[in-house]
């Protein structure tokens, strides 16, 4: 097996162009596990760790551009206030050791339907920046990035450089079911993001379909239903309808981690609860500042 170790992004793109079979590796928390279990024997590994720019993030014209190599622990510590949904999801990834090494870039590359970062990326309208030496940069919305179980929209010569997302314009929550209270792969997961500026609700459903997906009908229903203007209370029937629509958006399977029926049920409960938390936060927030305050 070849081990490619470019020092710059340009060299990384060149290496990927020359070795399209090479598997990029950053934290190794997924790639190495699969190799240990002999799931893959890639002809080459492309180590992106020396490419330091991948571990940086920056604000660009009011948006956040976050390098593919920023580990979860830094998303939690450095961006938890601006991206609370993603930070909460990051907090559920593995153990402290895994969060020190694992990255959103790796999650995107693996494109497992159970990846924890996917639902908040989808709910928050994130866009994935990918690049090849031959054709330059492509900006792919998260919703279009996942193409199947463990498949994504990358071409063989492309690498993930960063993802783009807005600082949370409103409350965000992430919730995940596991049969253990830590270090567990999602049985199913759900993310919600309220955008008071556009008066839209974003959702992300994880581990309940071949790919992470939005619950579009639930979003449309709720965006129209919520009393954005007066921050009025959330009706029980609206919350239930939203939960029902989220459930209908999922197409889970029975597997060793849980049954399809349980996944659907759990998604509806998580949808209702996270919506309640988010709307209560919004109702309690001081208008215009975006500061969250506990609803009484």
């Amino acid at each position: 097996m070849d081990f490619l170790r470019p020092l710059t992004w340009e060299d990384a793109l060149a290496a990927k162009a020359e070795h399209p079979d090479a598997v990029p590796i950053q934290g190794g928390t997924d790639v190495m596990v699969e190799m240990n279990f002999d799931v893959h024997r890639p002809p080459a590994l492309l180590d992106l760790n020396p490419v330091r720019e991948l571990t940086e993030w920056d604000g660009v014209d009011g948006r956040l551009r976050i390098g593919a190599g920023v580990p979860y622990v830094r998303l939690i510590e450095e961006l938890g206030d601006r991206l609370p949904g993603l930070a909460q999801a990051s907090r559920t990834v593995g153990s402290p050791q895994i969060r020190n090494r694992g990255t959103v870039g790796g999650n995107l590359g693996a494109a497992s339907p159970a990846g924890d970062s996917h639902p908040p990326l989808v709910a928050g309208d994130a866009v994935i920046e990918v690049e090849s030496a031959a054709r330059g940069t492509r900006m792919i919305p998260a919703t279009e990035f996942y193409t199947g179980v463990k498949r994504n929209a990358l071409e063989p010569d492309e690498l993930i450089r960063a993802f783009w997302t807005d600082p949370a314009p409103g409350p965000q929550y992430f919730s995940k079911i596991g049969t253990r209270n830590a270090m567990v792969i999602a049985v199913c997961s759900f993310a919600i993001a309220l955008n008071p500026e556009t008066r839209r609700v974003g959702t992300g459903v994880g581990s309940a379909a071949p790919t992470p997906r939005r619950a579009t009908a639930a979003e449309d229903f709720l965006s129209a239903e919520l009393d954005w203007e007066n921050r009025g209370p959330l009706s029980v029937s609206a919350a239930q309808r939203f939960a029902e629509l989220v459930k209908e958006a999922a197409s889970p399977i029975d597997d060793v981690r849980g049954t399809a029926d349980y996944r659907k049920h759990a998604l509806s409960v998580m949808a209702r609860r996270t919506l309640t938390w988010a709307w209560n936060d919004y109702r309690g927030a001081v208008p215009g500042t975006g500061e969250g305050k506990e609803a009484s």
Partner: protein
């Protein structure tokens, strides 16, 4: 022959503590720092790596095996099949010898070893292994143990086939008692397959020795019993195989059966080179037996005030394709099938059966765990039917010293169960969870609730476990103790073959030597077969058995030292003791230091320690004094359940255990914590999921064991009512907590949810359905 790198050496026991103190473990810091040498760390220059080709099928005929492509693979030194086994082709525990060293024409479970490869690199060995071509005829596996019991001849998966053991227990007249019963409750219960999930996968090294035999460095629970199985298969006399215990990374019963021992030996003999084998986590799930899954039917009759008048019980344990420990596991399920309760009329039928499901054998609790989940669930059911509390129903039926067990055996040591229950109930309950931190709630950091749907529940569980080997086995341990002056200081060397599997025996042996010999410096020799058998590190028996043997050997050394003192001092004394390195006469005070008496003499004594004899269970009535000692533990579990999502947070586990004598509080607490955690795992998450004989989750990604966020703080109340027959009055302590924590946690979940929950592990979908 050279010694491998990372082979164990002599260990200076840290601290100064004797019996009752808590000196630190010599391996503790090393393990925490990642520096302890496990069997997987063994290394010899020029060694080869062995790999094992295993069956992908639960049951299939092997029509042909073609090894030529594998043998031609560059770097490969050997490819072996059953035709290359030098001696006996079968081995097995309890003299059953029904397990092929390598499959012969047929495989009977997924993961059964078929062929071995030795190569100069582990990856080379694996790649060559894939080139072994096998022509299969896949057969329908036998997976339903009830079908086997109904027609054992039809569903015979191997020569012994059918029912491994049917052990009845018959006391009184159940049918007559049924007529009189005022309250009848019944239930069907199921226990899934639990895995030992030790953290150090199977590994070891075999090297050709100068005498034409083998030096074997293995990670096992009982090297002498290993040797009895290894030697005939390798065609070597036992005295040509030199066994040394390599660093063991946990066992819990999973190392009682052989794994790579014979295989590495075959490759080393064949190639003339040292061969190391080291399983990865995936292979480990197929490399050892698991806890028997169980299907159980219980019916209890009682008086209206909750006194049990009869028990009618059927227990079915699925042992998989080979016998392993199933004979004794079934015996335990039968003799302990109704637990620590006095019941005048009993009918128990316990069955162990052969199927093509994953092979099962020894695991902490050994047949008593499965029954405990059922009988404790029944006690709660009975309490509810009689309108009394779970503690009351248990107290009304509790055994105490002088009572009879189901086997007719009289409990001859203290067994204050009613008092233990009262103590558990009297402990203060934990406060409501601090909901401001989601880690305190069900779901933890996954944030499934901020308090919505969370209901608290409380439950109790009681477990009764036999300690040491039962049913007439002549169980013994051997210890050699040497006392000499080294560097001006009297030093004891303790040598046994007992396996330190993490339980802390290494610490305890030094404590006993300090107490018995009055010295501070103690060295522990590596376990090997240059000293007699210590028996297995199983059945919570090593403190009792090897502790007893070390004590006996120390007493012999002491007697010899006193004889020497009499000779040196020119007269006899009959009131000597050893205290603080001095020979002390009760009447005359300090006579001399140990080093003055010893001079350059070396005193070395070897002793065997046997526990009192036991009897076999009667094959028809199950009666007999079959157990050496009995251990009791009571648990109270407090849980918070998210009843809408079915997620559980165990808030607190309180335990009351009678250990006879606290030998080392730190180690003891570790054993109770660990046993409790393993029981919690069985209650809510640990299961090898099997479909049609095939394992669906052979990894720590999907075989879940409790983390620190799942295992709550514990409140312990440890009693010391001595057992007069046991060394220091001690009672084996490692297993009883594993029994009682499972039913306590499930009872607490039932209390919170009102669900019947008749199967463990409880899954979220059981709670929300």
């Amino acid at each position: 022959m050279a010694t491998p790198v990372k082979a164990p050496g002599h260990v200076a026991a840290p601290g100064k503590g004797g019996v009752g103190d808590s000196p630190l473990r010599p391996d503790g810091t090393l393990k925490v720092a990642g520096e302890f040498a496990y069997a997987s760390d063994l290394w010899m220059d020029g060694m080869l790596w062995g790999a094992t080709l295993r069956s992908p099928h639960a049951r299939a005929r092997i029509l042909s095996i073609d090894i030529s492509a594998a043998l031609a693979h560059p770097g490969v030194h050997a490819v072996l099949t059953h035709e290359d086994v030098p001696g006996k082709k079968h081995y097995g525990l309890d003299l059953t010898e029904d397990q092929p060293v390598l499959a012969i024409g047929e495989v009977r479970h997924q993961g059964e070893p078929i062929a071995l490869v030795a190569a100069d690199h582990p990856e080379t060995a694996r790649r060559a292994m894939e080139k072994i071509a096998i022509e299969w005829e896949v057969l329908e596996p036998v997976t339903d143990p009830r079908k086997v019991i109904a027609d054992p001849e039809k569903y015979k998966v191997q020569r012994l086939g059918g029912i491994t053991r049917h052990q009845p227990v018959r006391v009184g007249d159940v049918d007559a008692a049924r007529e009189r019963a005022e309250v009848v409750v019944s239930g069907e219960y199921e226990v899934g397959i639990q895995d030992q999930a030790f953290l150090g996968p199977e590994a070891g090294l075999a090297a050709p020795s100068e005498d034409g035999g083998l030096d074997m460095y293995v990670s096992t629970q009982w090297m002498h019993w290993d040797l009895k199985q290894i030697a005939p298969c390798l065609g070597l006399p036992e005295d040509r195989i030199h066994m040394t215990m390599a660093g063991v990374g946990g066992a819990f019963g999973g190392r009682e059966d052989l794994s790579m021992q014979i295989h590495a030996g075959m490759l080393a003999l064949h190639t003339g080179k040292p061969v190391k084998m080291s399983y990865n986590r995936y292979e480990s799930f197929f490399g050892h037996v698991h806890r028997h899954p169980a299907q159980m039917r219980y019916e209890y009759g009682a008086t209206r005030d909750g006194r049990i008048v009869y028990a009618d019980v059927e227990i079915i344990l699925d042992g998989g394709a080979y016998t392993s420990s199933t004979l004794n596991v079934t015996g335990n399920a039968a003799s302990l099938g109704v637990g620590p309760y006095v019941i005048p009329n009993i009918r128990i039928d316990a069955y162990g059966v052969y199927t093509n499901n994953p092979p099962c054998g020894a695991m902490r609790g050994f047949g008593a765990v499965q029954a405990c989940f059922a009988y404790e669930s029944m006690m709660d059911k009975l309490a509810e039917a009689c309108g009394i509390t779970p503690v009351q129903v248990r107290q009304r039926n509790a055994i105490s010293q002088g009572d009879k067990l189901a086997t007719g055996q009289i409990v001859d040591a203290p067994a204050p169960l009613a008092e233990m229950l009262a103590r558990a109930e009297a402990m203060p309950l934990p406060p409501p969870a601090d909901q401001s931190d989601i880690r305190n709630l069900p779901g933890g950091a996954s944030q499934t609730t901020h308090g919505e749907g969370v209901v608290r529940g409380v439950g109790y569980g009681v477990g009764l476990k036999n300690i040491c080997f039962s049913e007439g086995f002549d169980d013994y341990s051997t210890a050699r103790v040497r006392l000499e002056v080294i560097g001006g200081e009297p030093t004891a060397l303790v040598h046994t073959a007992a396996a330190e599997v993490g339980q802390g025996l290494v610490t305890l042996k030094a404590q006993i030597a300090r107490t018995e010999l009055g010295v501070q410096k103690v060295t522990i020799a590596p376990a090997d077969n240059q000293v007699g058998s210590a028996g297995s590190s199983s059945a919570s028996r090593q403190s009792y058995m090897t502790g007893g043997a070390v004590k006996a050997a120390c007493e012999a050394v002491r007697a010899e030292l006193f004889r020497l003192a009499g000779w040196r001092l020119g007269r006899e004394f009959d009131d000597l003791s050893l205290v603080g390195g001095k020979v002390v006469s009760r009447s005359e005070g300090v006579l001399a230091s140990i080093e003055e008496i010893l001079g350059d003499k070396v005193i070395e004594e070897t002793r065997e320690f046997h526990h009192h004899p036991t009897q076999r269970m009667h094959p028809v009535t199950g009666q007999g004094n079959s157990h050496t000692q009995l251990g009791l533990c009571v648990h109270r579990a407090v849980v918070d359940v998210d009843v809408e999502l079915g997620l559980v947070k165990v808030v607190e586990l309180a335990a009351v255990q009678d250990v006879g004598k606290i030998m080392n509080l730190l180690s003891l607490e570790g054993q109770i914590h660990g046993g409790t955690a393993q029981g919690l795992g069985l209650a809510v998450m640990e299961e090898i999921v099997v479909t049609n004989g095939l394992v669906r989750n052979p990894s720590f990604t999907d075989y879940l064991i409790p983390t620190i966020l799942d295992m709550p703080p514990m409140r312990l109340d440890i009693l010391e009512n001595p057992d007069p027959k046991a060394p220091y009055g001690l009672r084996g302590a490692g297993e009883p907590p594993t029994l009682s924590s499972t039913p306590a946690v499930v009872a607490a979940i039932r209390d919170a949810t009102g669900k019947a929950l008749t199967r463990v592990p409880v899954r979220p979908e059981h709670i929300v359905s």
